[in-house]
């Protein structure tokens, strides 16, 4: 079995798994308790907060732990619904955790403008500026896209946000561990993360929120997480996320080299099999290890089934709850026509993938294409 769908989710890093096992077994105390059991759990969570903060270049008190990327994005957006300025500028290629939330927040008076992208999947900061109105209270643009891997010009957008005194949020769920992240250099006010995208556990996320900014909670109760996220902390998960973030940030340069060599090998091998394969995304501003590629004439659901049968996991785009395969809205936004759109696979490499596996992948693609051709 060969897994090339790391943008959907990653396995637990063995060190993370060991740590979580240990915490689960020994440190069950409530972090809010003052006795030794509670103090131990509290110390673990604060260690994780420090690890997370160090990984993205902020202070520990600027980290809020949540249940994942979706909750984190919701936390930021719901605050807009309860503010004076209820207009949001976002982009058409955001994750549903942003776009669906905004659509539903219309019930609470929130309006939004989603700017388009060019054919490489890039947002134009000028479009963002043009979309700003007197009512704009938030700009939310993702750091890197989950389907095509294009990295957005967040520092340029941040300059615009500052100039207009508008809060800037960026969904960085896909980026941590693939590119170095420094929230201060990027100039964002808040940023979303999800542990399971960088070899941490599912069900844990984090929000970077710049000192001085306070968000109204989504979930009320106790005063955990600086009263912005009530509920007894998920000690096991948070501990796992902290270590996973530390490892991700520490290894980001070497892993980028690894991803680069896997990607180049793949492209070289695929060129021999299918010279007319079409790659999507930006040639330079691109997440390492994420490949969006069209196989003209071969619909992706069929191709995926052939690859799955050969024990190979890839994706047709973003993962979806009904196992559904349909034209990608992101590719459409990038002006990719429907015929090519439905022939597109996303291959996302992980730390464990090897060059040998890339060869297995391209061979499997080759035999799949041959089998499909022979049946036609």
């Amino acid at each position: 079995m060969h897994y090339f769908d790391h943008s959907a989710t990653t396995p637990l890093h063995p060190q993370v798994k060991n740590l979580m096992d240990e915490v689960g077994e020994l440190h069950f105390g409530n972090p809010s308790s003052v006795h030794s059991f509670g103090r131990k759990a509290r110390a673990l969570i604060e260690t994780a907060r420090k690890q997370m903060a160090t990984a993205i270049g902020c202070k520990p008190q600027e980290i809020i732990f949540t249940s994942g990327g979706t909750e984190t994005n919701n936390l930021v957006l719901w605050d807009v619904a309860r503010s004076d300025k209820k207009h949001v500028v976002t982009s058409v290629i955001e994750h549903p955790a942003i776009l669906k939330t905004l659509e539903n927040l219309s019930d609470f008076g929130v309006t939004f403008t989603s700017v388009g992208v060019d054919e490489k999947g890039l947002v134009d900061p000028q479009d963002v500026e043009n979309a700003i109105t007197d009512e704009t209270g938030l700009i939310s643009i993702m750091l890197a896209n989950n389907e095509v891997g294009t990295i957005q010009p967040i520092t340029d957008i941040s300059a615009i946000a500052k100039q207009h005194s508008i809060m800037l949020h960026s969904d960085a769920v896909q980026a941590l561990g693939k590119i170095p992240i420094n929230v201060k250099e990027l100039g964002v006010d808040c940023m979303s993360f999800s542990a399971h995208k960088f070899y941490g556990p599912k069900g844990v996320g984090a929000l970077f929120i710049k000192n001085g900014i306070k968000l109204k909670p989504l979930i009320y109760g106790g005063s955990q997480e600086r009263a912005m996220r009530a509920g007894t902390e998920n000690t096991i998960g948070v501990t796992g996320m902290g270590l996973a973030a530390e490892l991700a940030a520490k290894n980001v340069v070497t892993s980028a080299d690894h991803f680069h060599s896997l990607t180049e090998t793949f492209k070289k091998q695929l060129k021999k099999i299918l010279p007319n394969a079409v790659y999507h995304g930006h040639p330079n501003h691109h997440l390492p290890g994420l490949i969006s590629v069209s196989f003209p004439g071969y619909r992706n659901d069929l191709l995926m089934a052939h690859l799955d049968r050969r024990g190979i996991a890839v994706s047709s785009g973003s993962a979806c709850s009904s196992g559904d395969v349909k034209p990608s809205k992101i590719l459409s936004a990038m002006n990719v026509d429907d015929d090519l759109n439905i022939c597109t696979l996303r291959i996302s490499f992980g730390l464990g993938n090897t060059l040998e596996e890339v060869t297995i992948l391209t061979k499997a693609i080759n035999s799949s294409l041959e089998q499909i051709r022979s049946a036609a």
Partner: protein, 357 residues
């Protein structure tokens, strides 16, 4: 290597048992979940169906693929369905779905997956005898679904297996329960997926505007108002809103015709009113399993799914059209619906009701 069969897995018990039976017979089975309708609502529960299909296929240790035919379905089935309604007829999308989606788009997909044949959970049989292929009624006469398959040709049937052809629905439930299939007691789906169990008029209102007009008797007396001819079916009794004070008897009113030109809905009183019955029908859009008009003319036919076959005689049959005469007058013959012909248990094919004489 054993023959590769791709089973269309809907999440329901019929397709799950089909997969189980084929696996036990030693076929190399793969399952495919078809998504034919985009909307996921309280009526069209695609996500739950997928999860049920997944649980069943995981239980059987068979791989499940997903394929999206929403584009094809809209193009080749749904648009035609709307066109028929717009013309005042009452189409049956399931027959077209079988012809265009399950036994065409899905078949092509399965063949491209390397399958030798496809299987579905239809209650019908395929008989292969010295070079010819026949479509037969299923062993469960109450459940027989050959009616919905009349548009299939020899080539399509040649590439299909119906594992439930020889069993009854009761058998299927028993097998599913005994073998522990997770969906053994799942409710049968009724009607067309995209309509679901909602009020049909409410569904049509998404596509057609209200176009009110008079409801008149067959001697042109106004007895009420209708919302638009599209929303009514010939033979319909409920929902006419004709109050007391009309007619002489306590008997209910029935839709007997649509006067499209004058936007009038014509009704008569009483189930036995002669205007509701016709013996002679003109059928067009013919599809024969064999590819040509049947040689035998003394046959039986169904003019809707849930009814027994009725004795009839084909008076004239050419490539495009036929005239059939039933032994007994038929109630509420509905243009747009399928008339399907049988020679005993053999389903010969049929066509769309064009008009009645």
């Amino acid at each position: 290597m054993s023959e590769k069969i791709v089973v269309g897995m809907s999440g329901g018990v019929d397709s799950a048992v089909s997969a189980l039976l084929l696996k036990e017979k030693g076929f190399d089975v793969e399952c495919v979940f078809m998504k034919n309708w985009e909307e996921d609502s309280e009526y069209c529960t695609t996500e739950q169906d997928y999860k049920d299909a997944l649980m069943a296929s995981e239980y059987l240790d068979l791989p499940l693929r997903t394929v999206n035919f929403t584009h094809e379905y809209k193009d080749r089935v749904f648009n035609l369905f709307l066109k028929e309604y717009a013309a005042g007829r009452t189409p049956n999308p399931d027959t077209l779905c079988n012809k265009e989606i399950k036994f065409k788009a899905f078949l092509e997909y399965a063949l491209a997956l390397g399958a030798n044949r496809i299987a579905t959970g239809h209650y019908a049989k395929i008989e292969r005898t010295n070079g010819s292929i026949n479509l037969l009624k299923g062993a469960d006469k109450k459940k027989d679904q050959s009616y919905f398959l009349y548009m299939l040709n020899k080539h399509q049937l040649d590439k299909a297996i119906f594992p439930l052809g020889d069993v009854t629905k009761k058998d299927v439930r028993t097998i599913a329960k005994e073998r522990g299939l997770p969906n053994y007691n799942r409710k049968d789906s009724t009607g067309v997926c995209f309509i679901g169990e909602r009020d049909f008029k409410e569904f049509l209102l998404q596509y057609f505007k209200l176009n009110p007009g008079d409801i008149v008797t067959d001697d042109n007396k106004i007895v009420g108002r209708h919302d638009g001819l599209t929303f009514y079916t010939l033979g319909q009794r409920q929902g006419l809103g004709i109050g007391g004070g009309y007619g002489f008897k306590e008997e209910p009113w029935y839709v007997v015709n649509k006067d499209i030109e004058n936007n009038k809905l014509i009704v008569v009183q009483g189930h036995d009113h002669p205007a509701l019955f016709h013996k002679e029908l003109i059928i067009n859009n013919l599809h024969w399993v064999s590819g040509k008009c049947p040689e035998k003319t003394e046959l039986s036919a169904k003019i809707r799914y849930r009814q027994r076959d009725k004795k009839c005689t084909i008076i004239k049959c050419n490539k495009n059209e036929l005239i059939v005469e039933f032994e007994e007058p038929q109630f509420a013959v509905t243009p747009g619906q399928a008339t399907v012909f049988y020679d005993g248990d053999i389903c010969l094919g049929g066509g769309k009701i064009k008009s009645r004489n």
